[in-house]
């Protein structure tokens, strides 16, 4: 990969250095809803270390300025450039061409979201879902700076690493195959709720929300979300399953169920067979 690598001079790097002499065959989905949609193939000169987003940008700059792609940081930190590369949900900016099988690279938009144009989809429903989740709510206190053990931070940090790329929302079969997103928060927002529920200073209880609007029980823990997470969050094991356990404690514990029967009008009326037991 370093064959044509002219050394660069700091402040004045040679712009196109690093050309490998090879070309990449890029097959890109093009189109808008309601009109002709098709793949177009482009030959892109390969540069050492090139990522899929670089190749898409090369096409945009040199062949077709109308090619639409969403991106921002190009460093795997913002989660904007999600797409399906050779059928797998990936961040285009973190997918190196030379890690993919040699041959044509197919780039398509996220399938579980409505198409806007080319590689760009409408992910706005995620932002609507987030509005349904009651925010972080600590107990009132005298305002003294908090003392929190690092152990708690370490646990929460995993959830907070989420960059909202929505690859998990895209791959989840509840959204993708069954199109149940209207009554299913999806993995991203289970992670979000977990970050709130596990925060030592938060005092709200979001279990009823998860069980009802959130559709937590629809998840049957196939772990597809965990596999595609670019931040390597153990979404299923560390967010969804603990939440399912908490919901189960509340709704399916026979002792608590009896307690509710005896104290009608008490907590939660949503318990019932419809939810089903957790995986």
């Amino acid at each position: 990969m370093t064959s044509a690598a002219a050394p660069t001079e700091t402040g004045r790097p040679v712009p196109e250095s690093g050309l490998t002499g090879e070309s990449v065959t890029l097959r890109v989905f093009r189109g808008v809803p309601g009109r002709k949609q098709a793949y177009t193939t482009y030959e892109v000169p390969e540069v050492a270390g090139m990522v899929v987003l670089d190749a898409v940008h090369w096409v945009q700059r040199n062949v077709d300025g109308e090619l639409a792609v969403r991106w921002n940081c190009k460093a795997g930190k913002c989660g904007s450039c999600s797409a399906e590369v050779n059928g797998h949900p990936r961040l285009m900016c973190m997918t190196r061409i030379d890690t993919l099988p040699r041959g044509t690279i197919t780039v398509a938009p996220l399938r579980a979201f409505p198409l806007i144009k080319d590689l760009v989809t409408d992910v706005s429903r995620n932002y609507e879902t987030n509005k349904l989740i009651p925010p972080f709510t600590p107990a009132p206190d005298d305002g003294t700076p908090w003392r929190i053990p690092q152990m708690d931070i370490d646990r929460l940090y995993e959830y907070r690493k989420c960059i909202e790329c929505f690859l998990c929302q895209d791959v989840c079969h509840v959204n993708r195959t069954h199109e149940l997103s209207a009554r299913f928060f999806g993995p991203r927002f289970f992670v979000r709720v977990a970050s709130l529920e596990m925060h030592p200073k938060d005092v709200l209880d979001r279990r009823a929300l998860l069980h009802e609007e959130g559709g937590l029980a629809l998840c049957n823990i196939t772990k597809c979300c965990t596999e595609v997470c670019p931040e390597h969050i153990h979404i299923t094991d560390n967010a969804i399953i603990p939440l399912k356990e908490r919901v189960a404690d509340r709704y399916f514990d026979p002792v608590r169920w009896l307690g509710r029967k005896l104290h009608r009008g008490g907590e939660g009326s949503g318990a019932g067979p419809a939810g089903g037991p957790p995986g």
């Binding site: 690598a5 050394p7 660069t8 001079e9 700091t10 402040g11 004045r12 790097p13 712009p15 250095s17 690093g18 808008v32 540069v47 050492a48 270390g49 990522v51 945009q60 700059r61 300025g65 109308e66 090619l67 792609v69 969403r70 991106w71 921002n72 940081c73 190009k74 460093a75 795997g76 930190k77 913002c78 989660g79 904007s80 973190m94 190196r96 806007i116 144009k117 760009v120 409408d122 992910v123 932002y127 987030n130 509005k131 009651p134 925010p135 972080f136 700076p145 908090w146 003392r147 929190i148 053990p149 690092q150 931070i153 929460l156 940090y157 907070r160 690493k161 960059i163 709130l196 938060d202």
Partner: protein, 601 residues
């Protein structure tokens, strides 16, 4: 004229990075209907890329630290041409903003006894950066984002671009723009506008900036009549990735050095010991970036023209993975380098802009009534060079102040000023011209013009400049400006990157001209401004900021005397561990003596 949608709000906030979000929260909490407009999706702004942390004098780790020391470090890092009143407010208030963020659900790493942990960073006297791993910016933006969407009276328009501020008489009354996805044209009527649109790096080739960093906010403010300041100061972050080319420009956090990493040249020498024997690898960014440049010039650069950043020999693999997880992943995924075992190859990359819209310290008001500016788009806090960790603090402190002041102003208006149909028609025509289909033969491609501008700015207005190179850059900008009138693109308004790039190019040309003209006028080297032909500081220029304003259709640069620190404030400078009386300009000389050594444990 094509039809356009009209939206109304009390306060319009332009940008949804930390400054915009914090401003919108403050404005809505003050009772104003507040509309946030962002070119991207919510939560994707440059704030997410800030890795190191928030500088604040909590003194949780090093007890001698305080807001006064933070003040002194920031002023000295900015080479004393900062707006001292902004620095004063900032150093005091950032402490409250950190604790506030925690109460909004933001996480920070902890000390043994459970308080907020702080790490060392360049040119800070003490360990001062509150952080969570190397993803503090993500934590900040997510916390503010969730706070905003649950604050009554706020609304967010995602993926919309503004192209012009509308003015009525001498005041701002709204803005014109379009929805990037649909191409729908829009006018927003507002009582006040907070510009929180971030900085500009896209006119350079090697940059850590995303496509958004085209300087729209500063250019729109300038075009509407506001003054810009300190435009010559563009920060090269010393450590960007330089290899492979696909990863070039991506930021390598200063946290690597904060956690003990050191820079070496090709001979294995820790060269920062020569350039700054006191602060060494944690010297200020301008000094470290120049030192790497000089090593490369002297033939001691790394194979791809930079330096080696070594943490592998300084910390255990487990520590590195714990404190720098995203750096581990970034190098592994993009460069195939295991940073727990090997050195990283790094070099300077355009990262941040100290200059911007000139503002009042207390209110963030610009010189144009009704327009406020906060965060990277505003000038003054960082002077000639920003210290790491001071941008996340900046956006919280002045985001809040700008939102409160804008709300106050909007509430004081008897009625929203009327929007001029003529201005809307003019702007529509300008924005739509590239789609007109005429002039096809001499049509210019916006992507090519952008690339040509990047070459000119990188080569001639980059890390080191001279009268000759800057004049070359100015000539190139003039030629590109002429060609930009002929930009034509195929397609329509709906999600058409070629068309969207046209206006970006115009904004970048305006900002580039301001950078180059200011750099020409500052005939000295100070902070991020390094003039090969004037390698020393000029005492006279230590008393002024350079202000850029529109004057009869042309760009004028003038010296504006800066407000000198009162004597009792000058004495505070000695609180910095890096204070050296020999570096004081004549107007401060003799007013402050170094503290005894035991004052700096």
């Amino acid at each position: 004229m094509l039809p356009y949608t009209i939206r109304e709000c009390d306060v319009l906030v332009v940008g949804a990075g930390g400054a915009g979000l914090r401003a919108a929260i403050a404005s809505a909490e003050a009772g104003c209907s507040t509309l946030v407009i962002t070119k991207s999706l919510l939560g994707k702004a440059h704030t997410v890329m800030a890795e190191g942390g928030i500088a604040a004098g909590l003194a949780n780790v090093d007890s001698p630290d305080s807001w006064e020391v933070h003040f002194a470090d920031t002023m000295l890092g900015g080479q004393l041409i900062n707006n001292w009143r902004m620095v004063d407010l900032y150093a005091r208030e950032v402490i409250d903003r950190v604790y506030e963020l925690e109460r909004w659900g933001g996480l920070f790493d902890r000390t043994e006894d459970g308080r907020i942990m702080q790490r060392a960073f360049g040119a800070h006297s003490y360990r001062r950066l509150c952080h969570v791993g190397d993803r503090t910016g993500l934590e900040l933006i997510r916390t503010c984002q969730d706070r905003l969407v649950h604050t009554a009276g706020t609304d967010v328009l995602m993926e919309c671009t503004l192209t012009r501020l509308l003015v009525s008489g001498d005041r701002v009354c709204g803005a014109f723009g379009y929805d990037r996805n649909t191409g729908e044209l829009m006018v927003i009527r507002a009582g006040a506008v907070v510009m929180a649109s971030g900085g500009w790096g896209r006119m350079y080739r090697q940059t850590s900036n995303s496509w958004e960093g085209t300087g729209d906010g500063a250019a729109m403010a300038y075009e509407a009549g506001a003054e810009l300041q300190d435009m010559e100061f563009v920060q090269f972050h010393p450590t960007g990735m330089i290899w492979p080319p696909g990863a070039r420009g991506i930021l390598v956090t200063e946290g690597v050095r904060g956690e003990g990493g050191i820079l070496r040249n090709a001979e294995g020498e820790r060269f920062m010991e020569r350039y700054d024997p006191v602060k060494k690898d944690l010297s200020s960014r301008d000094v470290v970036a120049r030192s790497i440049y000089k090593e490369v010039q002297a033939g001691r650069g790394s194979p791809h023209g930079g330096a080696f950043l070594d943490i592998a020999s300084r910390r255990s693999a487990a520590e590195i993975r714990k404190k720098l997880p995203s750096m581990c992943a970034q190098f592994e995924d993009l460069a195939g380098v295991d940073i727990t075992r090997e050195a990283m190859e790094v070099g300077p990359t355009i990262h941040y802009t100290m200059g911007g819209v000139r503002v009042d310290a207390e209110t963030a008001a610009t010189t144009l009534p009704g327009l406020y500016a906060a965060g990277e788009v505003a000038a003054g806090l960082h002077g000639a060079n920003r210290l790491g960790g001071n941008s996340l603090g900046d956006i919280l402190v002045f985001g809040r102040r700008s939102g409160e002041a804008a709300a106050e102003y909007a509430k004081g208006l008897a009625a929203k000023p009327a929007v001029s149909e003529k201005q809307v028609a003019e702007e529509q025509e300008a924005v739509l011209r590239p789609l007109s289909g005429d002039d096809a033969k001499s049509a210019e491609n916006p992507f090519q013009l952008h690339r040509a501008l990047q070459e000119a700015m990188q080569d001639d207005a980059g890390i080191g400049r001279s009268d000759e190179s800057l004049h070359r850059a100015l000539l190139a900008i003039g030629e590109l400006r002429e060609r930009s009138a002929r930009m034509r693109v195929p397609g329509g308004r709906a999600l058409n990157p070629g068309w969207q790039t046209c206006r970006d190019v115009e904004f970048m040309l305006t900002i580039s001209e301001a950078i180059v003209r200011s750099a020409l006028a500052r005939r000295e080297s100070r902070g991020a401004q390094w003039r090969f032909d004037f390698p020393e500081k000029d005492d006279q220029l230590s008393r002024v900021n350079l202000v850029v304003r529109r004057h009869g259709g042309a760009m004028a640069v003038e010296e504006r005397p800066l407000q000198a620190m009162p004597d009792e404030v000058v004495t505070r400078l000695a609180r910095s561990r890096f204070f050296d009386p020999a570096t004081l300009p004549s107007h401060y000389a003799g007013k402050v003596q170094p503290l005894p050594v035991e004052a700096h444990p």
